[in-house]
Every structure is written in structure tokens, then in C-alpha cells.
Amino acid sequence: MVFEDIYKAYWQKIFRLCMGYINDYDLAQDMAQETFIIVWQQLPKFRNEANISTWIFRIASNKCLRQIEKQNRFLKAELPINLKEEKEEKEEKEENIEPQIQFLYKCISELPETDRIIISLELENIKQSEIAIIVGLSEVNIRVKIHRIKEKLTQKFKENEQ
């Protein structure tokens, strides 16, 4: 497997996973890039016994989980007001997409951390058996969780419409 091909094939997917997890455009890009740095480092060790997509999504989701270590530092340091405004303006510009998309990502990022990963993988059309391997839970467990998360999301969307 050539790194560049992997990069091309997975960049958007990994970015979406990070975005669903953190719901911050810049941070998600950084996390996606860091994921690819790990992929690049580990690629020589990759053996074909595992599915490459499982392998990459494991790296990416573990990267997301590690994010919790850093989060506090972000929260403690409140952004200065002018910076905040700039940031908001910027966000408006780059995320001038359907508000529904924004809402979906916002809802997902508010879920418990592991649920964010599970639903992101599901929405990325990854087979539930593969999600089970990525997360390390049984397939039944994953199916139940996905069902519940989707219910929660649907409810939130309904509430939002009203």
C-alpha cells in the first residue's frame, strides 16, 4: 500500500470522523493530519492480516479518544474576545453549508465520546461487523448502540424543526 493512495482515499473520511468527534473545523483538520502522520509512521508495520480500513479507523478513533487529555487545556484558556469574534466570522464563512449538516455534526459531538465514534463510522457506511472490530465490542452491542444513537439524533432533529 502506498501512503499517497491511502491519503487520497481516506482523507475526507478521517476528517469527518474527527469533525463528528470534536465539531471544530480547524481542530478536526489538525487531528486528521496527526492521524495520517501516525499512519505514515506505522505503515511499514502494517500486515495484510487486517483490513486496511479497519486499521486506519482504529488509529483515527484512538487519536480522537486521546484528545480528551488535551481538552482541559483548551477549556481553561478562554479565547480573548476579539479572537473569538474572528473565529466565529471564519466559521460562518467556511461552514456556509446547509445548517442541517452543521446541526448533525453538533448533535453528534454532544454524544458520549465512544458513541460519537460509533455513529460516525456507521454514517461513513462501514459495516457493523467492522465497527465492532474497530471499537472492540460485540456486533450485537454495536447494533443496539447504533439504534439508540439514531433514535436520539432523530429526536433532536424533530425538536429542532419545531
Binding site: N62, I68, E113
Partner: protein, 198 residues
């Protein structure tokens, strides 16, 4: 749930510009360099300290065995500390991030606990070795002083060591512990999420 398909579509609409490969490669390079830099700095510190001690040994020609043992203990303290410190970070580099999330989390929790143990034990060892080393090292030179100055020198040193032992050391340990405890707590919380009975 008729909106299932909707979610998938919405999800896929979130796009981002692909950063050009050069940017990523430059990040990879920077990453490589910073790792190398850290390795060099740690080793430099060790080499410089050892050279300094050897210089003292050669230049002042200590006569007594206590002085020599003192020097060895002091160097040992520093070496052990630096090595342990580095190793506790190396633990993370060795974890395989290609494990499943649940294995990975369990692994992280185990590593953090190990790190916690290592840091307190090593700090303890460091202080004991360093204090004993300095105490022994001083002996030869205080012999040359009058009794008053000898006691004075040892008194000042003891006060300094006691201050470290009873004030700085607990403070340092507390700082590390609370940081690690917090992180372990968070990882455990994540792990809990996966263990929930369905």
C-alpha cells in the same frame, strides 16, 4: 426511523479541502526533527553532567573514598532520573494505536498507572541518592574547615535537603498525581461507556 438515510447523506456532505501533500510532509519532517531534538537534548544533558563530574574528579583529585562514592551516587541519581523520566514517556510511544478502542483505553489506563508509580518511586530514589551523595561528597572538604564552618556547611546543606524533601518533593508528587489522576479518570470514564451493559 425514516430519517436514517438522511443522516448518511448529510454526513457525507461535510467536506474539507485536502491539504496539499507538501504541508503534510513538512509536518512529518518537523515531527521527526522534534523527536530527534529531544533525544539529543536529553543525552547532551547527561553527557555534560558526567563530564562536569569527571572534571571535578580529575581536577580536585579527591583523596577519600567517601568523596568518590558521593560523586558516583550523585551522578547515578541524575542518570536514573533522566532515564526514568524518558522511559515513562516512551511507554506511550510503544503503545500500538492500531488496537481496538476498548483495548487501547485499557492499555492507556495501565500505562498511566505505571507512570504514576514510576514517577513517585523515581523521585524518591532520586532524592535519597542525591542527598546521600552530596553528604558524602562534602565530607572530605569539611575536614579541611574548622569545626564551626564544618557544622555550618552541613547545617545549611541539611536545611536545603529537608526543605526539598518536605516541601518540594510532596508538592511535585502532588502536582504529577493530580494531573495523572485526572487523565486516568477520564480514560476510565471512556472505558465505562464501552462496558455499559446493554
Amino acid at each position: 426511523m425514516n430519517s436514517n438515510i438522511n443522516f448518511n447523506e448529510l454526513w457525507a456532505k461535510q467536506k474539507t479541502g485536502e491539504p496539499n501533500k507538501e504541508e503534510l510532509l513538512s509536518k512529518i519532517n518537523k515531527f521527526k526533527k522534534s523527536n530527534l531534538k529531544r533525544l539529543i537534548i536529553t543525552n547532551l544533558l547527561l553527557i555534560i553532567t558526567s563530564l562536569f563530574i569527571i572534571f571535578i574528579w580529575v581536577y580536585y583529585q579527591p583523596q577519600m573514598i567517601t568523596t568518590k562514592i558521593g560523586i558516583i551516587l550523585t551522578v547515578l541519581a541524575m542518570v536514573i532520573f533522566v532515564i526514568a523520566y524518558n522511559q515513562s514517556f516512551a511507554l506511550f510511544r510503544k503503545t500500538t494505536n492500531t488496537q481496538s478502542n476498548s483495548e487501547y483505553l485499557k492499555n492507556l489506563i495501565a500505562i498511566k498507572a505505571k507512570q504514576q508509580f514510576m514517577q513517585t518511586t523515581m523521585l524518591y530514589l532520586y532524592f535519597v541518592l542525591l542527598s546521600t551523595g552530596i553528604g558524602l561528597y562534602m565530607y572530605e572538604y569539611t575536614q579541611l574547615m574548622t569545626a564551626f564552618w564544618g557544622i555550618f556547611a552541613y547545617g545549611i546543606t541539611s536545611i536545603w535537603i529537608l526543605f526539598n524533601w518536605f516541601y518540594l518533593r510532596p508538592k511535585q508528587i502532588k502536582k504529577q498525581q493530580s494531573k495523572l489522576d485526572e487523565i486516568i479518570g477520564k480514560f476510565e470514564m471512556l472505558n465505562e461507556q464501552l462496558n455499559e451493559k446493554e
